[in-house]
């Protein structure tokens, strides 16, 4: 656990950015709440059990770290304006190129959906970065992390490949490395949850290019979208921007365009908003 937290520290230098611009991002792993506050109760119950003390030593540490944490400086989110999406899949390709993924590993996938008049529209689906991620709860070894800034990431060094998260994700946003991953190119070493190097037998998913965000760079899909469909946003600073350069006040943009979240009824509180077009629907598929 200690080793994992060290891995979570943002890189002190970034290949594309001068060393003077230190990232403000403090990536403290927000441990699962249940694990943390369980300690008090279990500590009592299993005071005698040496087993329990071994189990929770790390959690005690994590709990003390998390308690001192202040409000997050960022709350990353995404807005997807379906009105302008033509389904060119440039987002998918930009992402795959940056993360060294196979063709079937579509961390952002463009689905062809049917609208109510029988036509189709394109709908990109990244990781929804849920505030209550179902994948987080079911991971038996805590390899899925939820950062203070709301990013759901996978620690490739910890993942045992149980694929419980794939079963839990209602958005099918997780992809397993069923065979040897493509040789990494241009991926800085060592692998971090923000910029993971894929390993055979682990689960990978969209990371919203978490390594770029502290440096003011756009995620690969946002930068790669020629239509300006994808917006990266920050719920704290209330700003969202897209690739071509449009900048909006996030809350107003969502309100004025009647943005919705997909599968709201599942209670996952996704952090991706969709702006529907004319005659377009988002089915309530479960």
């Amino acid at each position: 656990m200690f080793a994992k937290e060290n891995d979570m520290q943002p890189p002190t230098t970034h290949p594309d950015v001068p060393a003077g611009l230190a990232p403000e991002l403090a990536q403290e792993v927000s441990t699962v709440l249940s694990r943390r506050s369980l300690l008090a109760t279990v500590g009592l119950a299993a005071a005698g059990g040496a087993l329990a003390t071994v189990f929770f030593k790390d959690e005690v540490h994590a709990a003390t770290v998390a308690k001192g944490a202040t409000a997050p400086e960022h709350a990353w989110c995404m807005v997807i304006d379906l009105r302008t999406c033509d389904g060119c899949e440039m987002c998918t390709r930009s992402c795959q190129q940056r993360h060294g993924l196979r063709e079937e590993q579509t961390w952002i996938k463009v689905y062809s959906m049917e609208d109510s008049s029988g036509g189709t529209f394109a709908m990109p689906r990244p990781c929804m970065m849920c505030e209550d991620p179902p994948c987080l709860k079911v991971c038996p070894v805590g390899a899925t992390l939820h950062t203070d800034e709301g990013l759901v990431l996978v620690d490739q060094d910890t993942c045992i490949g149980s694929r419980a998260c794939m079963a839990a994700c209602p958005y099918e946003a997780r992809y397993f490395n069923w065979s040897e991953p493509l040789p990494p190119k241009g991926i800085p070493m060592p692998s971090t949850p923000e910029m993971p190097k894929q390993a055979q037998g682990t689960v990978g998913k969209c990371v919203l290019c978490a390594d770029r965000l502290p440096y003011g760079e756009l995620p690969a899909c946002v930068a790669g979208c020629p239509m300006g469909v994808l917006y990266i946003g920050d719920l704290v600073t209330d700003i969202a921007v897209n690739g071509p350069g449009k900048t909006v006040v996030l809350s107003e943009f969502l309100r004025d365009n009647d943005a919705v979240r997909y599968k709201e009824e599942l209670g996952t509180n996704p952090r991706v908003w969709y702006i529907l077009g004319h005659g377009q629907t988002l089915g309530q598929q479960v």
Partner: protein
């Protein structure tokens, strides 16, 4: 060893009991003799199959799980179905041994050892199948070093290991009197290593009444415990599926259905194992057709229950027709999986029931056929349950496919072969029959047959040891993990409105339009009372105020890189004095408020003409900033989850301590010189 030698050792008791007792002892030793050619043939074939499976697993380890037929639309498939099947059949041992012991069914005696052995072997094989199921088995130890206590899979691990320990204790305790009596009677005839093992296990056992009482008590406690433990194992396995929001998996009936499925297939496997060993070691005189018919009745009970549960599982979803569940059920009942589902329904549900119900098939071959059907069809049912819903793409509503490959089939066959192989090897070491139990029951039956007073001392040994009360909380049921965790650290608001912000913040202004001859604009920003007010003054070509002009306010941010991005804050029309005022967050059309403290740059622009834009910027030191982010309300059930996890740990601890206590008390009573 000849029958003559065996008979000569027999001492008191009457002649009828004497003969059957000797027979049971002799029969229990049959697997210890020189193995037959058939035994060697069976062992070598089974070993080859196991080896092939291990090779296949190594190939999978090297090349990745794709070689086992998996893909992102079939992420859970054959291996998890195997795990459920093998751990499921281990419940048979608990039924035949524990339930029949607690209900005082004396006919169980010749079956218990085989049933308990089957339980131990199958649970070990089932647990081992988790290894090919996961992507990186070399990291499995993380389940102990850094578990996520909210994860059902973690509780699977706890439940399976606890149940395995209980099964081992339940298997091992009755060995003590058997090994003592065999060692005493046959000594070195058992073989040097066996004699040493038997001596070690049965050290101190003389069969004294106090020892018998303690052992019966310990077995009673473990019998009671193993039933809820088995319920917990199969329930938590079901909850690994049911705690996802996937259609069909997300059903409350899954846990009880898994438990009944385990009972059903477990009894069937016990029938098969007993039939196999009965034939192989000629135990016909001890295990009669009557035994199989009785087991068949138990099988029929579970068959009917399982058919009912399957119907109850499918009806509501099919009736409502909700998207997702209806798609999965359509595929299962009338779609491409329908052939397999109805094959299961007929061959795995109705046929076994019929074979037991019809008098002319209610015999040994009939029960064996029924059991073969049940064991194979229950595996098929698990495959359907895993794949039909697991393949469903919850974005598109389409179905993926799992493809069988030689790797996954070999691993599954290897696991199947490992069960008889391990049983055959196990019973080369431990006695095949529970001699003590058989003799005890024979004695009691003999005593009941004649009005003897001597038997009174032993009657307390049958039935459950009611004097040994179960410690509170030891019945480990229900490792339900509800929606817990995943809750964000709550965000404290950066500042409250107006607090400590009475004084206006300093502001510096730079003028955009330098020349007084052209249209000019100036912007000032004042923060007061927690609100930021931007004021732009617009002057025309002649220096007069420009009225009815639209001024756009912008905020400059470098959050998304340089050059700075301009965030439009809204437009305001100038009044008669050429002044436009914008209060940030002041009305519903202008929601933006400063979100970060420190010097922030604001800009006012006016399009004097389509080609000419006048701008002015000011930097305001923001002292009152408020995060625009509002976290979702906390899950009201999160606290319940924490309490549940704590309670489960207490229960698990109690179970392990109780198990250890039973072993300890039996060991202790054996140490005392009586």
């Amino acid at each position: 060893m000849s029958t003559d030698t065996l008979n000569s050792d027999v001492t008191d008791t009457d002649s009828i009991t004497e003969a059957t007792t000797t027979h049971a002892r002799e029969a229990a030793l049959r697997p210890f003799g020189k193995p037959s050619r058939g035994w060697w043939l069976a062992v070598s074939v089974l070993t080859s199959v196991v080896l092939l499976g291990i090779i296949a697993w190594v190939v999978q380890l090297r090349d990745g799980m794709a070689v086992a037929g998996y893909n992102d639309q079939a992420f859970w498939s054959i291996y998890i179905a195997d795990v459920v099947t093998f751990i499921g059949v281990s419940y048979g041992g608990a039924v035949v041994s524990a339930i029949l012991r607690l209900t005082g069914a004396t006919w169980r005696a010749p079956l218990t050892r085989l049933a308990e052995g089957t339980a131990v072997v199958t649970v070990l094989v089932g647990a081992a199948l988790i290894i090919p199921h996961i992507g990186r088995p070399h990291l499995l130890w993380e389940l102990v070093t850094q578990p996520n206590l909210a994860a059902p899979v973690f509780w699977d691990f706890i439940a399976v290991s606890t149940y395995t320990a209980a099964s081992l204790v339940f298997f091992a305790l009755p060995l003590i009197p058997d090994m003592a009596v065999l060692r005493k009677q046959y000594g070195q005839q058992l073989g040097r290593r066996r004699a040493r093992l038997f001596a070690a296990v049965s050290r101190g056992w003389v069969g004294a009444p106090r020892q018998r009482r303690v052992l019966a008590g310990a077995l009673g406690v473990v019998s009671i415990m193993i039933i809820p433990l088995a319920v917990s194992v199969h329930s938590v396995l079901a909850w690994a599926f049911a705690t996802t929001s996937r259609p069909w998996w997300h059903e409350s009936i899954w846990a009880p259905q898994f438990v009944v499925a385990a009972l059903y297939s477990g009894v069937a496997l016990v029938i098969l194992v007993v039939a196999g060993f009965r034939r192989g070691y000629h135990l016909e005189s001890l295990i009669t057709e009557r035994h199989f018919v009785r087991l068949g009745f138990i099988l029929a009970t579970f068959s009917a229950t399982y058919i009912y549960l399957t119907f109850a599982d499918l009806l509501p979803g099919a009736y409502v027709g909700e998207v997702g569940t209806a798609d999965v059920f359509a595929r299962l009942l009338v779609g491409d999986l329908a052939v397999w589902f109805w094959l299961f329904a007929v061959a795995g549900g109705l046929l076994p029931l019929l074979l037991v119900a019809l008098p002319w098939t209610r015999n040994l071959p009939g029960m064996v056929v029924a059991s073969v059907l049940v064991v194979t069809m229950m595996w098929l049912k698990r495959m359907l349950m895993v794949n039909a819903a697991g393949n469903y793409d919850r974005m598109t509503g389409a179905f993926g496919d799992y493809h069988f490959t030689w790797v996954s089939v070999s691993v599954t066959l290897a696991a199947t072969a490992a069960v008889p192989l391990l049983l055959m090897l196990l019973f080369r070491v431990v006695p095949l029959l529970s001699i003590d139990e058989i003799e005890e029951i024979q004695e009691i039956e003999a005593a009941n047959a004649r009005p003897a007073t001597t038997a009174a001392a032993h009657t307390e040994l049958i039935g459950p040891a009611t004097s040994d009360a179960l410690p509170a909380g030891a019945t480990g049921k229900g490792h339900r993990v509800p929606r817990v965790a995943g809750v964000l650290t709550l965000v404290a608001l950066l500042c409250s409105f107006g607090a400590g912000a009475a004084t206006p913040a300093s502001a510096t202004t730079s003028q955009g339009g330098k020349s007084t001859n052209t249209t000019a604009i100036t912007i000032t920003g004042v923060e007061s009372g927690g609100l930021m007010e931007l004021t732009a003054t617009l002057t025309g070509r002649d220096g007069d105020p420009l009225a009815d002009a639209t001024v756009a306010f912008l905020f400059s941010t470098t959050q998304f890189g340089t050059p700075a991005r301009l965030v439009p804050l809204g437009s305001v029309t100038t009044d008669g004095a050429g002044v436009a005022r914008l209060t940030l967050g002041g009305d519903a059309d202008h929601l933006y408020q400063p979100t970060t403290k420190g010097p922030q740059k604001f800009i006012a622009t006016y399009a004097a003409s389509s080609a000419h834009l006048v701008t002015s910027s000011t930097t305001v030191n923001v002292t009152v900033a408020q995060s625009a982010y509002e976290p979702p309300p906390p899950n009201p059930l999160a606290g319940m989850g924490e309490g549940l996890i704590a309670a489960l740990f207490v229960i698990v601890l109690a179970v392990w301590l109780t198990l250890a206590a039973q072993v300890w008390r039996v060991r202790r009573v054996c140490r005392v010189v009586l």
